[in-house]
Amino acid sequence: MGEAVPAARIDASRQAEVVRRLREFLPERAVLFEDEDTRPYECDGLTAYRRAPMVVALPETDEQVRRVLQTCSALGVPVVPRGAGTGLSGGALPLADGVLLSMAKFMRTLRVDPVARLAVVQPGVRNAAISDLVAPFGLYYAPDPSSQIACSIGGNVAENSGGVHCLKYGLTVHNVMRVRGYTIDGEPVDFGSEALDAPGYDLLALAVGSEGLLAVTTEVTVKLLPKPQSARVVMASFDDVETAGQAVAAVIAAGIVPAGLEMMDKPATQAAEEFVRAGYDLDAAAILLCESDGTPEEVEEEIARVKQVLSQAGAARMTVSRDEAERLRFWSGRKAAFPAVGRISPDYYCMDGTIPRRRLGEVLTFIGEMEKKYGLRCPNVFHAGDGNLHPLILYDANEPDQLHRTEQFAREVLEKCVEVGGTITGEHGVGVEKIDQMCTQFGREELETFHAVKRAFDPAGLLNPGKAVPTLARCAEYRGMHVHGGQLPFPELPRF
C-alpha cells in the first residue's frame, strides 16, 4: 500500500463542460456527476482508497465508447476504465479531474462456437458466466480467480487474472485469443485473432495485464477447454511448514503437474474450519490440497503417485476426496479463506507476492519475524503450485497506528519477495496499491521503457494515468525514504 489518496476538489465548470459534451451523444442517465450518483464508483475492491470521479460515463455501444474517448481526448480529460470493480489493487480508482468509463453495460455474449471452442463476449460479462454458458457443450473457461462470480472478463484482461489452476491451465494471457477495443484517440484496434497467432508483434500479450493504460476493451474472444471428466483432491497434513514446502517441490520434481496445488498454514486452516467446516486437520502446521483432473483412469494413476510422493516427503496424514461433494468441501475452506479471516479480525490486508517455490520456507520464516516486529498476526494461503503467496495481515482500522504498521509490514514482505527472485504482484496488479514497490522491482531504465510503451499507445497520457508504473520522481523519493545506507539489498541481483 502507498500513502492515502490526497483529497481532490472537482472543478465545477470543467465538470459541466464534460457533461454537456458527453450528453451530445449519450442519454442523460448514462452521464452521472451528482455526488450520490458517482459515490458507488469511488473505489474498487481496494476499499482503503476512495475518490469521487468528476464524471461517470456508462456507454452501451462501441460507437459510444469511441465517442467518449474522442471527446475526452479532444478535451484533454483523463479516462479511467472500470469493469465490475472487484480489482484488488485500485486500478479503477477514479480521478477527480477524470471520466470514469464504466463498461458495466457491455453484458452480451456475442457468439459461442463450440466446435472452434471459443466464445466472443463483451467485457462486462462475468468470468463464471462464461463457464456456465458453455457447460452444456462440455466446455469451460479455465482461469478462475476467487472473485469469479463477480469479476468481469474485461477486468480479467486488464489484470491478467489467475486463479487456483494456473500451473496447469495458465493465466488470462494464455486463454484469450483476441481483444478488440479502442485507443484513447477512438481508433479501433484488434489484438490477436481467432487463429493461433497474428502477424507482427504480440500486441495481445502487451494488452493483457496492461491495467487499462493502453486501450479500452470492448470485446474479448476467449479460448474454451473441454471440461475434465473427473477430479479428485488429496488433502495432506504436515507437522511443519518447511516440510510442506519441500513436499510441493517433490511433487513437481516427480513430473506431476497437478490441476491445483494449494497450501494453508495453521492460522488460515483454523479460521476456515470455524467458518465452513471443510474437514481440515487442525493439528497440522500446514495442509496441502493437491488436485488431479482428467479421465478417471488418469486421475487414479496420478492420485496414487501423488500419495506416494507426499508420503515420502513427510506427510503426517492424507485423505483423498471420495466423491465430488467431498472434493468441493475440501476446496470450500480454501476458497473461503479470505472471508473466514475477515470473521476473526475487524480488517485484513491481502498481499499478492510470487516467489520461487524453493524459497518458501525462508519467506514464511521472514513473515513470522514481521508478525513479531509489527505486533500483527498474518495467516498464509499460498498458490503453492505457481509460487503465488497471499499473506493476510490482520489489523483493526479503528486503531490509528495499525493501518500504518500493516503498510510497513506489507512493504517489507513484498521487498523480500523481490529479494528472493520473485515479484510484488502475481495476479492482483499494481494499480495504485503497489506503485511504490515497482521502484524496488524495476530499475530506472525499465521504468522509462514502460513509460515509453505507454506513450506509444497514448502519447498524451490520458488513459488511466498514475497507475501501474511510477514516475521516476516518485521512485527517487520512495528510494530516498526506504533505502538503507544508500544501497538496495543484493545490488548484484538483476531486478526482475
Binding site: 489484470e159 493461433l196 482428467g294 479421465t295 510470487t354 520461487p356 496488479g429 521503457t449
Partner: protein
C-alpha cells in the same frame, strides 16, 4: 561473460551513433525466415550457457547463444522439455533465435506457443542498455509484459540476451495413430476431438492420411487409443521430428512454401498447391505458386493470415500487412526500443 556482453553493448552503441544496421544472429538456422535480413551480423553465440535450472521450479534460464539442442538435452536428463516443441531448422539453432523467431512445433495446439512459456527476458536495447523484464516465476503481473512482446519480434527490437522459460515434465506415455480420411472429414474430426478431454498432443494431415499423437498418463493414452481407432504407427518419433524440422519430403517441393495460420474450423481453402495441415486445423502449409494477393485475401477471409515462409522471391513481403492502426503502434514500439532503427531493419516489415 560480462566482457562478451560489454563488447556487444559497445557494438550496439557504436552502430546507433553511426546509423549502422545490425542483425542479431545466433546459428543462422532461421536466416531464411522473414524478409531478406539487412545489416552486419551481430553474432550472439559467444553469450551462451545455462544460467539456472531448477527442475522442481519448472523454470530454466539461459543466455541467447545457448545451443537449443544442448538446452533440450539438459532438460531431457531431468525428464523435462520445452513444451512448445520448437523447430530447430538446423543443428546450429540457439535459444535466442528460438525466442526471437517465435516459432512453435507440433505440440503448439495443445500445449501453447513459445510466448506462452516465456517468463522473463533480458534485452540489449538500441541504446546499448541491458533491461530486465518479467522474471523466473509463473505468475507475475508487475509491469507490461515486454518479454512476450519480444517473443517473435525477429531481432527488430534488440538482442534478447537471456530468457527464462517455463518447462514441463515429459509425458510418461506416447503413441501415434494413423487414420484415412478426406480433408474435410479430417478437419471435422480434429475439431471434434479437441472439444473432448483427449490427450492429443499433435496432429498432421497429408495426402489422405491423418496422424494423431497421444501423450500423457499411460491409462489416458490407452483409453484414447481405443476411442479414436486407426492404426498405431511405428517410428512415429522420427515422423514428428521430420514434420517439425521440415525434413519431411513434403517440404522438399520447389514451389514457394506458405504458412497459413487460420481458425481451426476454417473450411478447406481450395487454393492451388498441396497442403499439409497441423495444429488441429489451425496451421496449414501450402506448397504452391499461387498469387500472393489471392492467398492473403483467402486467409484473411477465413479469419487468419498467410506468411510467405520459404521462397526464392519474397518480394510480396514475408508477412501479411498490418492495419494502419497496428502499423502505427508497431512503428511507435520500434522507436521505444530501437530509436536509431539499427536492428534488423525490414526483416519483419519495410517500415520497421
Amino acid at each position: 561473460m560480462q566482457a562478451v556482453l560489454e563488447a556487444m553493448a559497445e557494438r550496439v552503441r557504436a552502430a546507433a551513433r553511426s546509423a549502422q544496421a545490425l542483425r542479431p544472429r545466433g546459428g543462422g538456422s532461421k536466416d531464411f525466415y522473414g524478409n531478406e535480413p539487412a545489416g552486419e551480423p551481430l553474432d550472439t553465440r559467444a553469450y551462451a550457457g545455462i544460467v539456472s535450472y531448477e527442475p522442481s521450479e519448472l523454470v530454466v534460464t539461459a543466455r541467447c547463444g545457448t545451443s537449443l539442442a544442448e538446452l533440450e538435452r539438459t532438460l531431457a536428463e531431468k525428464g523435462q522439455m520445452l513444451p512448445f516443441e520448437p523447430p530447430h531448422f538446423g543443428a546450429a539453432a540457439t535459444l535466442g533465435g528460438c525466442v526471437a523467431a517465435g516459432l512453435s512445433g507440433p505440440r503448439r495446439a495443445s500445449a501453447g506457443a513459445v510466448r506462452d512459456f516465456v517468463l522473463g527476458t533480458r534485452l540489449l536495447d538500441g541504446r546499448g542498455r541491458v533491461l530486465a523484464f518479467g522474471g523466473e516465476v509463473m505468475k507475475n503481473v508487475a509491469g507490461y509484459d515486454v518479454s512476450r512482446l519480444l517473443t517473435g519480434s525477429l531481432g527488430t527490437l534488440g538482442v534478447i540476451l537471456e530468457a527464462s522459460l517455463k518447462v514441463l515434465p515429459r509425458p510418461p506415455a506416447e503413441t501415434t495413430l494413423r487414420l484415412e480420411a478426406p480433408q474435410d472429414k479430417a478437419l471435422e474430426w480434429m475439431n471434434q476431438w479437441a472439444a473432448r478431454p483427449l490427450p492429443i498432443s499433435a496432429t498432421c494431415y497429408l495426402r489422405g492420411e491423418l496422424s494423431v499423437r497421444l501423450s500423457g498418463a499411460e491409462a489416458a493414452v490407452r483409453a484414447a487409443r481405443e476411442k479414436l481407432g486407426g492404426e498405431e504407427v511405428a517410428g512415429a518419433e522420427e515422423f514428428w521430428a521430420a514434420v517439425r524440422e521440415h525434413a519431411h519430403p513434403y517440404f522438399a517441393a520447389e514451389a514457394p512454401l506458405w504458412r497459413l495460420s487460420l481458425p481451426s474450423t476454417a473450411a478447406p481453402l481450395g487454393l492451388p498447391g498441396e497442403e499439409l495441415i497441423e495444429w488441429g486445423g489451425a496451421l496449414r502449409w501450402l506448397a504452391g505458386a499461387g498469387a500472393a494477393r489471392t492467398l492473403r485475401e483467402a486467409a484473411q477471409r477465413a479469419g487468419g493470415h498467410a506468411t510467405l515462409f520459404r521462397a526464392r522471391d519474397k518480394s510480396p513481403g514475408a508477412f501479411a500487412p498490418l492495419t494502419p492502426v497496428q502499423l502505427k503502434l508497431h512503428r511507435e514500439l520500434k522507436a521505444v526500443f530501437d530509436p536509431a532503427r539499427i536492428f534488423s531493419p525490414g526483416r519483419m516489415y519495410p517500415e520497421l
